[in-house]
Symmetry: C2
Subunit: 525 residues, 2 copies
Amino acid sequence: MKLTGNLLIGAQEVAATAGSMKALNPATNAEIEPLFAFGGIDDVDRAAQLADDAFDSYNGTSLTERAAFLESIADGLDAITPELAQRTSLETGLPIAQLEGEAAKSATQFRQFATVVRQGRFRQATIDPAQPERQPRARMDHRMQKIALGPVAIFGASNFPISYSVAGGDTASALAAGCPVILKAHNGHPGASELMGRVIQQAVRDSGLHEGVFSLVRGGGNAIGEALVDHPLIKGVTFTGSETGGMALFRRAQQRPDPIPVFTEMTSVNPTFVLPAALAARGGTIGDGFAERMLVTVGQACLKPAILLAVDGPGYIELKNTMIARVEATQARTMLTPGINAAYRKNVERQSNAGAKRIAAGGETQGAWDGQSVLFEVDGANILENPLLSEEAFGPAALLVRVKDVEQLVAIARHFRGQLSATMQIDPADYVLAARLLPLLERRTGRIVVNAFAHPQEVSYASIHGGPFPATSDSRFTSVGMSAIERFLRPVCYQGFPDEMLPEALRHDNPCGIWRLTDGELSKA
Amino acid sequence: MKLTGNLLIGAQEVAATAGSMKALNPATNAEIEPLFAFGGIDDVDRAAQLADDAFDSYNGTSLTERAAFLESIADGLDAITPELAQRTSLETGLPIAQLEGEAAKSATQFRQFATVVRQGRFRQATIDPAQPERQPRARMDHRMQKIALGPVAIFGASNFPISYSVAGGDTASALAAGCPVILKAHNGHPGASELMGRVIQQAVRDSGLHEGVFSLVRGGGNAIGEALVDHPLIKGVTFTGSETGGMALFRRAQQRPDPIPVFTEMTSVNPTFVLPAALAARGGTIGDGFAERMLVTVGQACLKPAILLAVDGPGYIELKNTMIARVEATQARTMLTPGINAAYRKNVERQSNAGAKRIAAGGETQGAWDGQSVLFEVDGANILENPLLSEEAFGPAALLVRVKDVEQLVAIARHFRGQLSATMQIDPADYVLAARLLPLLERRTGRIVVNAFAHPQEVSYASIHGGPFPATSDSRFTSVGMSAIERFLRPVCYQGFPDEMLPEALRHDNPCGIWRLTDGELSKA
C-alpha cells in the first residue's frame, strides 16, 4: 500500500492544510519518507459534519451488517500485517514479531466485537409489556434499547502503535456500538496510522456505508485535538496516554456548553504485593517474573509492574537478587519517542531525589533515545511518607519496597491512588491476609491478579482495563474487553409504539433472536 | 414520629452547627415548627468518614441481606405514609392524595430494587475460564463483577418531595448498588426529609448495618453541598433540579483533583409532535390531554409537556380551542417555593418578550405564590429563529406552535436540545412521517412516547428518565427505572483467583444462582 501522507476525511484524501511532518526512526534519529499532512480546524469540521451525516444510517445498521463491516476491517488488517509491522517497527523501534502480535490482536478484537454485535446483548433490550388492567393505573408498553452515543473522537496512543491506535480497541468498540469515529492519529507512527486508516476507509467503502463513518486526522500541536473535543457534533472522546494530556482533554470537554463523556486511560504503577508464605516459598521466581514483566517493551506499557512490595523476611534476599540479576543483564533499548525518553530520564532522577536507592542498572545507553533499566529500593516507611515514590516512571524502571511487617503492608495498600491492576503473590497460608487486602484493592484497582502479572492484557468478555482515578477518568468503564462498548451507548425508551415502528431489537417476534429482559426475566422469546 | 430538626449523621442526632431554619407553608406564608438544624463542613466530613468506614462491609453484604434492608425501608415508609403525606402537604402545598401516591411509589421503588438485588444481574457476573492449552499463550481464568462506586452524595429534589427526595429513586438505586449515601435534604420540605431520613436510619439499625450507610445533612447556603461535592471520600453525586444548580455541581466536581461522576437531571420541555392524520382525526382530544398533563402538580414536573407542535390544517382549531378551554378553566394554585414562583413569573414574561402570543390564561392568582396557568402560541418560524422559546418555564405554562408544513416540523425536531422525553401523536397514515422523525428524536431524547404523554413516569425495567444534555449531564444513564443502579457501579476483574477467595457472585458453583455470562453465553450454571 502506497503511503501518501494525506488525511482521510470520509472517502476523501486531503492534503496538508496546516503544515506537515516526517516520521522519525528512533533507533537512528533519521527522518523517514513521505511527508505527512497536518490538518486544521476546517478539516475537523468537515470530518465531524460527515460523521454526523453518517450517524443515523450507521446507528441504524442491522446487527448482521455491522458485524460484517467489523470483520472486513479484521480481514483488511490481516492482509497488510507484514507491511504494517515493518513500517511500525521503523517508526517506533519496536520488534517486528511484537508488532505482528499486536496486529493479530487488533484483528481479533474486531472479530470479537463482530460477535458481540451479532449476539445483540449490547442493546440491553428490555420489555415491560402493557398491563391495561393494572390498578390504580394501567401500564403502557415500555421498551428500552441502547443506541450509539453519537460521533466520537478517538486519540491514538503511542506505546502500542497498532492495538491501542487507529485499529485499536477504542475504534473497534466505538464502531461496534454504532458510533462514527474520527481518529486523531498519534504523530509517533504516522505511516502505521495511515495504513490502518486506509484499511478502515476501504472497509467502509466495501460495506456500502456512509463515508462519514470513519475519518483520520493529524495535527502539529494541540489545536486539532482541541478542535475535536470542542466540536458540537462530537459526543464522546477516548484517550490513552499521560495524566497531563488526558486531564487536559477531560477538563476541556467538561467546559463545553454541553459537556460530553471523555474516557481517558492514564497512569498506573500496578503494585505487586508479595505475601509472606509466597515470598518464603518462591521469592526468587517471583522476583524474576516481575523483572521480566517490567522490562517488556522497554517498560513502555500501561500495565508495567512498577512497584513490588514484600515483607522483609525469608525469601526477600532471593527475590531482590533475582531482580537485580535480570535488570543488570538487560541491554538499553530504544524508546518510542524523544519525548518519552526525556520524561523517563527525568522520572528516574525524581525517584533518586525522592530517596529511592538505586540497587541495579542495566547496560549503558548507546543511542540517544535508549532507556537504561533501573531498579530502586526503599523501605515501606519511605513510600508512606513520600507520595512521589508511588508515581509512574514510564519506562524500564521499578521500585522494590522492603516492608516492615504485615500492618505496614496493609497501610501501604490503603495509600495507593487508583490503579489499572494490582497483583497478589500468595500461597494458601497467605489467604487470610489476602482476604484483608482484597477489599482495599477492589476499591483502588480495575483488575486484581493472583500469582501472575497483569501484562499482557487479555481481551475477553471479563477483561477490564480501567480503574479509579488517575488510572482512568471514570472507573465505571473499561477501554479493553467486550464491555468497552458500554462507553459508547445510551438508553432510549419507546413507550406505546406500534410494532411496525419499533426498532428490530424490540419487536414482538424478536427478529434478531437476541436475549431480552421481559418483565424482569431474561429469555430469547 | 416526633420531629427534632436534627441532622442525622450515621446513628447520631446532631444539633445545629451553622444556623437553622423553619419550614414555610407556601399556602399561607407562615412558618411551621420545629427549627431545623443547618450543618457545616465538619458535619459533612463526619458523615463522609462514616460512609467510607461503612463501605467495605456494606458493599460486601450478600444479595439477600441487602434486599431485606431495602424492603425494611419500604415497610418503614408504608408505616408512616399518613403522617408523611400530611407533613409534606403542609410544607409544599401539594394535595395529600398526590403525596400518598408518591409515598406508595417510593416504597414500591425500594421493593423493586430489592428484587433487582436478589436477581443479581446488576453484578454482570462474567467468567472467561482458563484455557491452559490455548496457543500461542495460555489464558488465565478471568472473572468480572460490578461492585459499588463508593460513598455517594444525593441531593434531594423539591418538586416531588417524596419520590425524588430522601426516599427517592436515587437513594434506592444507590443503596441497591452497595453505596453508602449522604443525603443533602432540600430545604423546601425539611420535616418530610427528616421523617424519611429516620425511616432509613432505623432500617440501617434494624438490619445490623454499619451506621455510616446513611446520613442526612442540611445547610443554609451552598456551602454544605459544595463540601459534599468536594469531599475526597465522596465518589459520586446525583442531583435533580435546575440547569444552573446542576451544572454548578457538575463543573465543581470536574475541577476536583480526582474528578467524580455527577449525574444531574435538569431541564426538558418534552415536545409533543402532533402529526397531520392524528390531528385531523382527534385534534380536540389531543389538545385536552396535553393541557391536562401540562397542569398536573401546577406544572412543576420535569416531564410536563411544555411545547405542542402541530402542522396547521384540519383539526388545528379544535386542538387549540380545547387547550384554551382547559387552561381558562384552571384555578391558580400555590407553587412549591417562593423561588420557584418567582422564576415562573420571570419565565412567563420571557416567553411574552420573545414574541409568544398569550392565547389563554387561567384564574387570577390569590396567594402570593400562586401560579397562573398560561398558554402561548407562536408560528413555527418563530421557534426556529428564537431559541429562548424552546426553554423551559417550570410551572403551568405551555406553548402551542403552529407549524407551516411537514418540512418545517422536521426542521423544528432537529433544532431541539436534549430532552427527557418527546411524544408523537400519530395515526397509521402518519407512520411514514413518524419514521422520519424517529431517528431525530432518538438522538435528542431519553424516551419517545406514542399517543400518550410522558407524565407520569412509570418505574419499571425499561423505564428511562434521562437524555442528552441539558436534560441530564450524561445521556448514558437514567435516574428512574431499574437501570438507574448502573450509575453507581464499576467493574472489577479477578484474574487467577482460587475459588475460596472469589466474591460469591463469581464462585464456580454459582452459590447465588444468578445469571452469568460464561465464555460469552448467558446461563445460571
